[in-house]
């Protein structure tokens, strides 16, 4: 039997069935049966998702979907059960699969009561997330998109840390739901115009400018899409929900709270269905991304609550990705997608570690800590590794993404891109500052108030198991990025290169006056791989066959 045709459904079904089974097992105080069950389910899911990179056809045409599963669901309106992955979503699916067991392990002891509820919701969240990455039918996608809110809201409301949890849950839901409602309107409008919810069809129509001739409506529609996704990311001024939700949500939930869902959706749907509009609005989003980077970092600098600090650091990190993908350069988009993976992994590690601290000391107030390094050498090691990955130290994963993003931003052809690149790059400084300061305040110096009182213990075996894979991935992804990039690039290059007849409104050609002298040198340049002593001949040969370097790419707009 060939798994390729049903693997995506299996991936979706595994956690769903798991959730159902867990919901039926009665709960008894103190037993771990639900945790064990959830672990098994998530591991099985992970195993299934690993099928994808294994059998992915890297040579397939750009923008095509693989492991396609497409069957009718509702006849009228025409809704199909259509799943598929491409270079963009493939690794995200694996990522979702990978984070789940870690989430379960992170909750192993942290969640002691109502484990049944917790793990059931957790698995449902998993289903929704995987569904979002897999769905290729707008309706189906929207289903999973909305569904993803529910378990999260309940997790926050039920397992929140403080009395504020209900408020935080509702805030989270409202922030996400109201724009989603507008998104639904936009989707319905699209359906009314085109009669289909099928994403590939819509993309094809969009490429032919065949969706609608009403430009205003198209614009509003694209804004509706973008707004819904932007809140979920969150993009800078829309992050009001983030810090509350991060503060309240349990570790396993907070790991998947921000970032990837919204960003994936922007890449898949905003870029896919509204390529022109996305390019037109890109300068604004580049600006917001750059501002968000600095803003999040600066606010993280002044926080005394670890979770809040992590929340703003998350904001800063996802803003990097926003900056990257809206540059519409291959490097920017590739780096952005890659950084989605990195951000998720690093964020997961960070939140797991914070959770460990909380398990031991029962506080997130940074002022209660201090001097823990002597008590927990392993923990400080993991913390430092995570921090370094987060601040983008070369050879760890964060650097590859950040570098590609920022250099993509520099290559972008939108006005003021240099300025925003510079603003974004300041994130490198501030990022290091707040992360290292955090480390210092928690681990170094004299023992703090709390860290002196409470005994605490270093990482136990389970905690090692949940952290080491992450740490190893940081290193591997920092060193062997092509393994991932191969698939991502097949998406990124396509997304960046989409031939669009964009009027040069705010997308000046390279010879615009503010950076006149900067762009001249490349005008008469050829691909720059003169095979010298520094370049491997085979690579030079490969480089010749490649399309023009990114600089020239900008010129076609």
């Amino acid at each position: 039997m060939n798994l390729d045709h049903s693997i995506l459904t299996l991936i979706l079904l595994a956690p769903l069935v798991g959730a159902g089974v867990l919901a039926l097992i009665p709960e008894r105080a103190g037993n771990k049966i639900h945790a064990i069950g959830a672990l098994i389910v998530t591991l099985v899911t992970l195993g299934l998702t690993l099928h994808l990179p294994w059998h992915f056809n890297y040579a397939a045409a750009r923008g095509s979907f693989q492991f396609d599963q497409n069957c009718p669901w509702i006849a009228s309106p025409a809704i199909r059960y259509h799943l598929g992955v491409d270079g963009l979503s493939m690794w995200l699916v694996v990522l979702a699969g990978f984070l789940a067991p870690i989430g379960v392990l992170a909750s192993w002891n942290a969640v002691k009561e109502r484990t049944k509820l917790f793990y059931t919701l957790f698995l449902l969240q998993q289903v929704a997330m995987l569904g979002i990455f897999l769905a290729l039918d707008l309706f189906l996608y929207y289903g999973f998109w909305e569904l993803s809110l529910v378990p999260m809201t309940l997790l926050i409301a039920t397992f929140g840390r403080t009395e504020n949890r209900r408020k935080a849950a509702i805030k989270f839901f409202l922030y996400a739901f109201i724009p989603s409602a507008i998104l639904l309107v936009a989707m319905l409008w699209l359906y009314a115009r085109t009669g289909t919810f099928d994403l590939p069809t819509l993309q094809a129509l969009a490429a032919q400018h065949a969706i609608s001739t009403n430009h205003t409506a198209l614009w509003l529609c694209s804004l509706a899409f973008l707004a819904a996704f932007a809140v979920k990311v969150p993009i800078f001024p829309l992050h009001g929900w983030l810090s509350d939700a991060v503060q309240e949500a349990p570790t396993a939930a907070v790991m998947v709270l921000a970032g990837k869902l919204g960003l994936y959706s922007i890449l898949r749907f905003s870029f896919g269905i509204f390529p022109e509009q996305s390019r037109h609005i890109a300068p604004w989003l580049i600006a917001l991304g750059a501002i968000g980077i600095a803003y999040g970092a600066l606010l993280a600098l002044i926080q005394t609550d670890l979770k809040k600090l992590a929340a703003f650091s998350t904001l800063s990190h996802v803003s990097f990705i926003v900056l990257g993908i809206f540059t519409f350069t291959t490097m920017g988009i590739d780096g952005g997608v890659y950084q989605i993976l990195n951000e998720s992994l690093v964020g997961a590690a960070l939140f797991v570690l914070l959770g460990l601290l909380y398990e031991r000391y029962g506080t997130y107030d940074i002022r209660d800590y201090g001097g823990l390094a002597t008590k927990h050498p392993w923990m400080v090691t993991m913390f430092v590794i995570t921090t370094l990955a987060a601040v983008g130290l070369p050879m760890l994963n964060g650097f590859v993404g950040e570098f590609l993003i920022l250099s993509g931003a520099m290559q972008s052809v939108f006005s003021y891109h240099i300025f925003w690149t510079v603003v974004g790059t300041t994130g490198v400084i501030f990022g290091a500052a707040y992360m290292l300061w955090m480390i210092q305040r928690i681990f170094y110096g004299k023992l703090g108030l709390r860290s002196e009182e409470v005994k605490g213990w270093d990482l136990c075996a389970r905690e090692h198991v949940e952290l080491w894979p992450l740490a190893i991935l940081f290193l591997v992804m920092g060193l062997a990025s092509p393994v991932w990039m191969q698939a991502i690039d097949s998406y990124g290059a396509a997304a960046a290169n989409r031939p669009v007849a964009v009027e040069a409104v705010n997308i000046e050609p390279a010879s615009s006056e503010p950076h006149n002298n900067l762009t001249l040198p490349c005008a008469q340049k050829t691909p720059c791989n003169q095979a010298g002593a520094f370049v491997d001949p085979s690579l030079a040969a490969a480089a010749v066959n490649k399309p023009a370097p990114p600089v020239n790419k900008g010129a076609q707009y």
Partner: protein, 508 residues
């Protein structure tokens, strides 16, 4: 069997059941359980549902059947509502078998009234003669007036009943005035005849007045703003299972009448009434949601939410005709499933004596009764409009039609409203799942869930879910219902751009 009787089969069965219940009631000694009567009523309702299904086969075979000098028309439309009403009543009866157990009980009368009320509603949906509609409306209204006051020993019960009755009669007068004016404009009270002569009437102003008055009267019945004011008070005072029924079944019937009247009798004046419907829809959605926003009492909250849902349903009316009927019908069904379900769960959770009334009383309920809380959560999510539930698909379909017909602003208002709405649903939901702030907040001893009530709740949940993930069967029925209700009169080209549904086994 004569055709005439066939056309009325479900109604006849229900009436006979009601009479039988009434007759049997005195034979059971006072103080004895009235459950057998309940089972009798349940059987009758079930039979009437099956009869409606049987009618569907007939309709499938030979098209719409009319009877009794064309006062009755059995078609997919009426069958759909027959099935819906009988299902609602069936579920409600199942759930309230135990509710009315007690030393001083009027359970017998309750069962009989439910049957009679259902009969009235069915008449409303299948008659094409306004006189018949009026009488059906009165039967259903009077039954519900009485049922609203069925909570014994509660000062609020009679108040609820009185409010409903007085304001209901007040609105009925408007409805009746509308019929009179309609008669004045066309000289007939039969839908077909009205439709035929309304286009050529010498007094279009009268026709407009008639439409306005009918909309007022029915607007009251469906609790659309600004005729919604009675809803929260009445729902609060009435017994929870009854509220579940009366917030859905009579509404469904009233919507059916409204659909028939607007789309079948008055399509000529579409441009006039559509503005009206839009205004009512916007008002209903907004007022309903805002009213519920700060509400602490759960029943009142759901009452406001039902106002809002009436608004969403009215949005469906703004689509082109086929879509409108199909979407409205579907929404009615979805709303019925989830709302009845929600009320049934609330009945169970708050106890038959309604100890838990406010949101705070429900705090931490999931700890004590995880299953029921999960189901209530599910119904609430459906009411919010979370995908893979009937509520979502209904909303989706309604707004889809509206947008299709160019009412984008309306759709945006509606969906923004559903954003506001999720705040209060979520507050309840979050309360269910939050740890209780005070331990003494919920001291209710969990009462064992009776099996019939359990079946009823499960059925609602299954229906809500099924309408969300496999709506094909119902969609088929409602999409087919349309053309038969709308013979030949149409202003806008009745070409739906939604591709017709492929027939499935059930409806074939």
């Amino acid at each position: 069997m004569p055709t005439n009787l066939l056309t009325l089969l479900p109604e006849i069965i229900l009436t006979v059941t009601g009479v039988l219940v009434m007759l049997a009631e005195p034979m059971i000694a006072p103080g004895k359980s009235r459950k057998p009567l309940g089972w009798l009523a349940i059987l009758g309702t079930l039979a009437s549902g099956l009869a409606a299904f049987y009618q569907l086969q007939l309709v499938n075979a030979s098209g719409p059947i009319s009877g009794f000098y064309a006062t009755i028309q059995v078609d997919a439309f009426s069958v759909f509502f027959h099935l819906l009403i009988s299902s609602i009543v069936l579920v409600t009866l199942l759930a309230s078998l135990d509710y009315f157990e007690g030393p001083v009980s009027h359970a017998g009368e309750y069962f009989a009234l439910a049957c009679f009320g259902a009969t009235g509603m069915m008449f409303m949906t299948c008659s094409v003669e306004l006189l018949m509609v009026f009488i059906g409306l009165e039967i259903s209204s009077i039954s519900t007036y009485i049922l609203a006051g069925f909570r014994k020993g509660q000062a609020t019960a009679s108040e609820s009943s009185l409010k409903y009755f007085l304001l209901g009669s007040f609105a009925t007068a408007f409805f009746l005035y509308g019929i009179a004016l309609c008669f004045g404009a066309t000289g007939s009270t039969s839908i077909g005849a009205i439709a035929a002569s309304l286009g050529t009437t010498a007094t279009p102003a009268l026709a407009l007045l008639a439409i306005a008055m009918v909309v007022i009267g029915l607007g009251f019945k469906v609790s659309a703003a600004p005729f919604h004011v009675w809803t929260p008070d009445v729902y609060q005072g009435a017994p929870a299972p009854v509220v579940g029924m009366m917030s859905t079944a009579p509404k469904a019937a009233a919507f059916a009448v409204l659909l028939r009247f607007l789309f079948n009798a008055a399509p000529m004046y579409r441009n006039h009434w559509i503005v009206l419907i839009e205004i009512l829809a916007v008002l209903s959605m907004t007022i309903g949601n805002l009213g519920a926003l700060m509400q602490r009492d759960v029943k009142r909250l759901l009452a406001y939410s039902s106002i809002a849902h009436a608004g969403y349903l009215l949005v469906a009316f703004t689509s082109i005709q086929q879509d409108a009927v199909a979407a409205a019908c579907f929404y009615t069904a979805a709303y019925a499933a989830m709302n009845v379900g929600a009320f049934l769960v609330i009945t169970q959770l708050s106890g038959y004596d309604e100890q838990a009334r406010t949101i705070d009383d429900f705090t931490g309920m999931a700890l004590k009764r995880p299953g029921l809380s999960a189901l209530l959560g599910f119904f609430l999510l459906s009411l919010i409009g979370i995908p893979f539930t009937g509520g979502f698909f209904g909303k989706f379909y309604a707004f889809s039609g509206a947008i299709h017909n160019g009412h984008v602003v309306l759709a945006i208002i509606g969906l923004a409203n559903s954003g506001v709405a999720c705040f209060y649903y979520l507050r309840l939901l979050a309360a269910l799942y939050a740890r209780p702030v005070r331990e003494d907040a919920t001291l209710l001893s969990p009462r064992k869930l009776a099996i019939p009530a359990g079946i009823a709740i499960a059925a609602s949940a299954v229906a809500t879910l099924a309408l969300g993930i496999m709506p094909n069967h119902v969609l088929n029925l409602v999409q087919r219902a349309t053309p038969e209700t709308l013979p030949a009169f149409s202003v806008a080209p009745a070409v739906s751009t939604l591709p017709p549904a492929a027939p499935t086994e059930m409806t074939r």
